[in-house]
């Protein structure tokens, strides 16, 4: 059970995740799932729910960190069009594997959150857009949804409240870009996943040009706790402007990689040393990618940084999806940047000129650099090509593609220079 004293809260989404068979409705209900749902459906109205979520200070857990309550309040009412709720379960950001655990171990938490969000937004049809590779997770979700329908937790007139909502799982086809909310919408509409420019924002014109809210799995899974304990309760957890707990997917050179949910504001060093069993080698990491592969890298000087949205921005990076990739001194940063460049060149949708042409250019330059075949003049070309992609495109994929290359050039200029000089000599 999550303590009602915010000071004692250490985890929210993962609270019941270790309970065996929690994915089964019977077990989940025995452990409190859906217990507060009737109260919400019968006693809360839409404004109250949105107000509580606003008060909670919850910020989107998918990467951009946009305040959830605010996003919900942007949805226009009485447009004559249906409003859609889409759960972004495309979890494709390299290094991120948190949503997957929620879906496969505690799917009813997500479903409950979606019903509550759907009720608040007046949604009749909701979708979970799940990453194509998550075959087993999609199966678990579908089984859970079937159980929920059978128990009248989904479908017409949920638990006799008069509210009806249908929930469908849609599997993606393997494109990273479909995790971007407007590309996700395009893909769900049956088109190639290419981001739309904004405005109009999905809240006004999204799925089939109707008002649409797209939320991350972790975000939606936090809603039941917020409504049960109140917005103020959630706001008191974590750090200022970064309320609540956050799941961090830690990978790389640590002794116990994995998902760890901690209150926000927990120092990076604490997470790595106390939870992940410390670094494999050495005492401080050589480089850390703190928010998924698209986030600019940090180095040892930021090792004690508290994990909040603001502190990471101040350090020149971002919290992103909370995927922390740790590199110790054995890491070949050029190889890592080259590998990430390959990923972005492969995943660029091809719409915008800088990204379509730039990601391929970066990759080809990085291949030469890694192989020691780059000229010294190529370093400037690399920097120019990367710098002028970021922020010039419809979506942020180009920013993500530029980040590893620019971080490598910024933090490890000697290594880069050495690789150029190495073969020229």
């Amino acid at each position: 059970m999550i303590p009602s004293d915010p000071k004692q809260v250490t985890q929210i989404c993962f609270d019941r995740i270790r309970i065996p068979d929690q994915r089964r409705l019977e077990v989940a209900r025995a452990n409190g799932a859906y217990s507060f749902l009737p109260t919400v459906l019968n006693e809360f109205n839409s404004e109250q729910i949105i107000e509580e979520v606003k008060k909670s200070g919850l910020r989107g857990r998918g990467g951009a960190g946009f305040p959830t309550g605010l996003k919900w309040s942007f949805v226009p009412r009485n447009t004559g069009k249906p409003t859609y709720l889409l759960c972004n379960a495309d979890e494709g950001e390299p290094g991120t594997f948190k949503d997957r655990d929620i879906m496969r171990y505690d799917p009813h938490l997500l479903i409950e959150g979606m019903i509550m969000a759907g009720y608040a937004l007046g949604v009749r049809d909701a979708y979970i857009y799940i990453r194509g590779e998550f075959v087993a997770e999609a199966r678990v979700l579908n089984e859970a949804i079937a159980e929920a329908y059978a128990a009248n937790l989904l479908g017409e007139n949920i638990l006799g409240s008069g509210y009806s909502m249908h929930l469908t799982v849609h599997r993606g086809a393997g494109a990273y870009i479909c995790g971007e909310e407007t590309a996700l919408i395009e893909s769900l509409e049956g088109k190639p996943g290419r981001p739309r420019f904004k405005p109009p924002f999905p809240a006004v014109e999204g799925f089939y040009r109707c008002p649409t809210v797209v939320n991350n799995v972790e975000t939606l899974s936090t809603i039941p706790a917020i409504l049960k304990h109140g917005g103020d309760w959630h706001a008191a957890i974590g750090a200022p402007n970064s309320a609540g707990c956050k799941i961090f997917s830690v990978s790389g050179h640590v002794n116990r990689p994995g998902n760890y949910e901690v209150p926000m504001g927990t120092p990076l060093k604490t997470l790595i040393e106390d939870y992940c069993g410390g670094l494999k080698r050495g005492t401080v990491p050589k480089a850390i990618i703190p928010g998924g592969s698209s986030a600019p890298w940090l180095t040892s000087e930021h090792y004690e940084l508290p994990l909040t949205f603001d502190d990471l921005v101040k350090a020149g990076s971002m919290l992103g999806s909370g995927a922390i990739i740790v590199m110790d001194e054995t890491a070949d940063v050029i190889k890592i940047a080259r590998r990430l460049s390959h990923f972005y060149a492969h995943e660029s949708c091809g719409q915008c000129t800088p990204c379509r042409e730039g990601t391929g250019w970066l990759e080809r330059l990085m291949i030469r650099l890694e192989a020691g075949k780059a000229r010294a003049s190529d370093i400037e070309v690399l920097r120019d090509a990367a710098e002028h992609m970021a922020g010039r495109t419809i979506c942020a994929l180009a920013d993500g593609a530029a980040a590893p290359v620019l971080s490598m050039l910024k933090h490890f200029p000697e290594e880069v220079r050495a690789r150029v000089v190495e073969k020229a000599a």
Binding site: P199, E347, C349, E357, I394
Partner: protein, 787 residues
């Protein structure tokens, strides 16, 4: 209105305008590739980046709406670098083959590379090459040059409505492709090379033939359909290289018929010198000899005059002047698709502009293949359908429109009366009526449910009625149009400013033809019948081909077996084999002249292409004919001719003198007394015959054009089509069947398609099945016997 500052210049535009549009309207140059004012915004080229004060990154100006007080900068050091980089990215995979690329010299990429690009690219990795796709007879592809702006994809989706171009793959593997092994299914495909900002899509017929700077430009009016688009003819010496739309004219695009007809200007079918029949062939002659023969054939004879409505107003006026001077009793005919020559309650021509039709609350199309007849109007209907506005259609054939119709009903031409009567009943129930309606309804026995769709649409505040050839060529057209007029008047769609009555004319200049020739016109069929009955001694044909086109080919042939033909014109048709004399007149692109389109807009052609042979402007030929026949020529100069025209139609003078010529519309004629009631005559045969108008093969110019003929072959349907139920009822199977009509028995290969209304024989290929064009009803019988 929103006020913003662009480069410190205060600018006021409508709210919602994009920054780029605001810049374009105020002459501030912002470079762009993917943006096109007629297409949806894609925002993918990123060339149009600008800086907005207070924003942390540059914004794409094409997709960023203006806001009050916004401060925009279009020229800063950072933007200069950004544009340089965009050019560098774009040129990574673009081949440096400008010297052999047709676009060179007229290429956005080339221009911007000079203006905004770095002097040297730094990309030194491998380049890519892309496989070309076959996009039909008019579009040449070189996809390695593509910069992926997706203008062509959006054009195919939004303007052509065909959606047969798409994007394959991602990242720098992205390619633009058509549907494999299939030509573009669009009558607008020739616009793709214009839309493409680089040399990826190029005009195929003119490919590798000329450089942009070698071409001289001529402005003229296209007369290939009643829409009368402005055209720019590009020639090198005597060679016409291509035709393109004119920027800033009412239509930003032109159709393939108007664009690719140009190869006929220099085809062997042109009449370039006077000719006199010698045995089975023709021999060259001097003008004197040819006129001597003409006088011999026409002097003191009973003459019928047939002419094409496609001449300029001046040319048409000269025909009238010549007739009055030389053959004051002669009947004239100019419409090859009209069987009923009684006055129509509303004459041919449009009461609305195409812009008004685009924005009307309701549009009803009655019996018209607009995509073939008026492709540019079809484009506007497609636009309105994209905006969710309704379009209703009633007719004998489910013509391909490349858009979704909101309502659609298939009927037989003999049902038109019942459709209109059903609509009248419904509007009367709602208290809307007009004097004469009861009488009209009482003359019709049946009621057809399709009338509900018509009546429903008439309830809207503004309703555009587009009446097509199925009604115009109906044997009882005058009563149908009177019936529609009653409906429109009853529902308030005939009042000044809300007039929604539009009758698709045969050709250009309809308003002038009904105003100037209204008192002497006859149907072409009538003239042929008179000739056949021995009541005419000769026919004068001024640029028309009743054997190859129209609804009277059999009658024309029968008439010409009996009487001699004098042909005046710019191009030969199938009728030319009957001519005794051929007198050359200049083609429409070779004259200075004035034209009227269906909306009544005055179009002027003032920079003609050079003539090739001895042809003279039509008015000179007509005046010379008058002289040779012993009359004083009514006019001796173009100025005098124009005065005569202006005397007959003062509003044309006003329009020509106005600075806003496009806004002066010549009004369509109305005949208040045209109160034709439905005729009660039964059709002779059980099935109705409807024939198709194909833009690729209708008219002498199109048939003389190899380019259009080739496209016609690609887009051809089966010869004759019927609904499967029609055959099932008769116990027949598709294949060779006998069509029995008043012309006798003909065998055709009959195909089935459920796009044809049951009870209708649809002649899809008029030229092949030309012998049926005269027929309105027929019977189908098996080949073996008389079943």
């Amino acid at each position: 209105m929103t006020t913003l500052f662009i480069d410190d210049k205060e600018i006021t535009v409508e709210p919602g305008t994009s920054i780029l549009e605001a810049c374009r309207r105020h002459g501030i140059e912002v470079p762009y590739f993917c943006y096109h004012p007629e297409l949806s915004v894609a925002a993918n080229c990123r060339m149009c980046l600008v800086e907005v004060e207070g924003w942390n990154k540059p914004a794409a100006s094409c997709c960023t709406p203006v806001s009050e007080g916004m401060k925009v900068r279009t020229r800063t050091e950072a933007l200069k670098k950004d544009r340089e980089m965009i050019m560098e990215y774009l040129l990574i995979h673009h081949p440096l083959d400008c010297p052999v690329c047709d676009q060179g010299g007229d290429c956005k990429l080339q221009d911007y590379a000079v203006e905004y690009g770095p002097s040297k690219g730094r990309y030194s990795e491998p380049k890519r090459a892309v496989i070309n796709y076959d996009l039909g007879p008019f579009v040449n592809t070189c996809m390695t040059r593509c910069i992926h702006c997706t203008r062509c994809v959006r054009f195919a989706n939004e303007i052509a409505g065909t959606g047969d171009i798409g994007v394959l793959n991602r990242g720098d593997h992205m390619t633009i492709a058509g549907i494999v092994e299939e030509a573009l299914e669009s009558e607008l495909s020739g616009n793709l090379p214009d839309i493409c900002p680089v040399g990826a899509l190029l005009d195929k017929p003119s490919h590798d033939l000329a450089r942009p700077w070698e071409l001289s430009h001529h402005s003229s009016t296209c007369i290939q359909c009643p829409n009368g688009c402005d055209i720019q003819i590009e020639s090198r010496g005597e060679q016409v290289m291509r035709i393109r739309p004119v920027e800033g004219s009412p239509e930003p695009f032109i159709c393939d018929r108007g664009r690719y007809v140009y190869d006929s200007f220099r085809s062997p079918a042109r009449i370039l010198e006077p000719q006199i029949r010698q045995g089975d062939g023709f021999g060259s002659a001097t003008w004197e000899e040819a006129f001597a023969r003409t006088v011999e054939l026409l002097k003191d004879k009973r003459v019928g005059i047939l002419f094409s409505p496609y001449w300029s107003l001046e040319g048409l006026m000269s025909i009238r002047l010549m007739r009055d001077a030389v053959f004051p009793d002669a009947k004239v005919a100019f419409d090859l698709h009209r069987r009923d020559m009684r006055p129509f309650a509303f004459e041919e021509g449009f009461s609305m502009t195409t812009e008004q039709i685009e924005s009307a609350d309701q549009v009803v199309v009655l019996g018209c293949d607009l995509r073939q007849r008026l492709p540019l109007l079809m484009l506007r209907l497609r636009k309105r359908s994209r905006q969710g506005r309704p379009v209703t259609r009633i007719g004998a054939m489910n013509y391909r429109t490349n858009m979704s119709l909101s309502n659609d009903a298939l009927i037989r031409p003999r049902d038109w009366h019942a459709v209109i009567a059903r609509a009248m009943e419904q509007v009367q129930q709602l208290g809307k009526t007009a004097a004469g309606m009861d009488e009209w309804m009482a003359s019709v026995d049946g009621r057809h449910e399709a009338g509900k769709l018509l009546a429903d649409a008439l309830m809207a505040d503004t309703c555009a009625l587009i009446v097509g050839e199925e009604i115009r060529s109906h044997e009882d057209a005058a009563s149908l149009i009177y019936g529609l007029d009653l409906l429109m008047r009853a529902c308030g769609h005939a009042e000044e400013g809300r007039d929604g009555r539009n009758l698709v004319p045969e050709a250009m200049n309809a308003q002038m033809l009904s105003a100037v020739f209204g008192d002497v016109r006859a149907s072409a069929g009538e003239l042929f019948a008179l000739a056949q009955a021995g009541e005419l001694d000769a026919l004068v044909l001024v640029g028309s081909d009743p054997v190859g086109d129209g609804l009277f080919p059999s009658a024309a042939k029968a008439a010409l077996e009996r009487v001699p033909l004098v042909q005046v014109g710019a191009i030969e048709g199938e009728i030319s084999r009957y001519a005794e004399v051929k007198l050359p007149a200049a083609a429409y692109v070779e004259i200075e002249g004035t034209f009227l389109n269906m909306e009544g807009r005055v179009r002027t052609a003032n920079k003609p292409v050079k003539s090739l042979g001895e042809e003279r402007p039509l008015w000179k030929v007509m005046m010379r004919l008058a002289m040779e026949m012993g009359s004083e020529p009514p006019v001796v100069s173009l100025e005098e001719l124009r005065e005569a025209l202006y005397a007959a139609m003062p509003e044309v003078r006003d329009a020509c003198n106005s600075v806003e010529c496009d806004a002066c519309l010549i009004r369509v004629g109305r005949n208040r007394d045209a109160r034709a009631l439905p005729r009660k005559t039964a059709e002779a045969f059980p099935l109705d015959v409807v024939s198709r108008y194909s833009m690729y093969r209708e008219g002498m110019w199109a048939r003389a054009s190899e380019l259009l003929s080739e496209a016609g072959r690609i887009h051809a349907l089966d010869d004759v089509l019927v609904h499967p139920d029609t055959l099932a009822e008769l116990g027949l199977k598709p294949g060779p069947l006998v069509v029995e009509s008043f012309l006798g028995r003909h065998t055709f290969d009959i195909g089935v398609r459920d796009d044809v209304s049951p009870g209708v024989i649809y002649i899809a290929k008029r030229g092949v099945a030309g012998d049926l064009s005269d027929v309105t009803s027929a019977r189908l019988v098996g080949c073996g016997g008389d079943s």
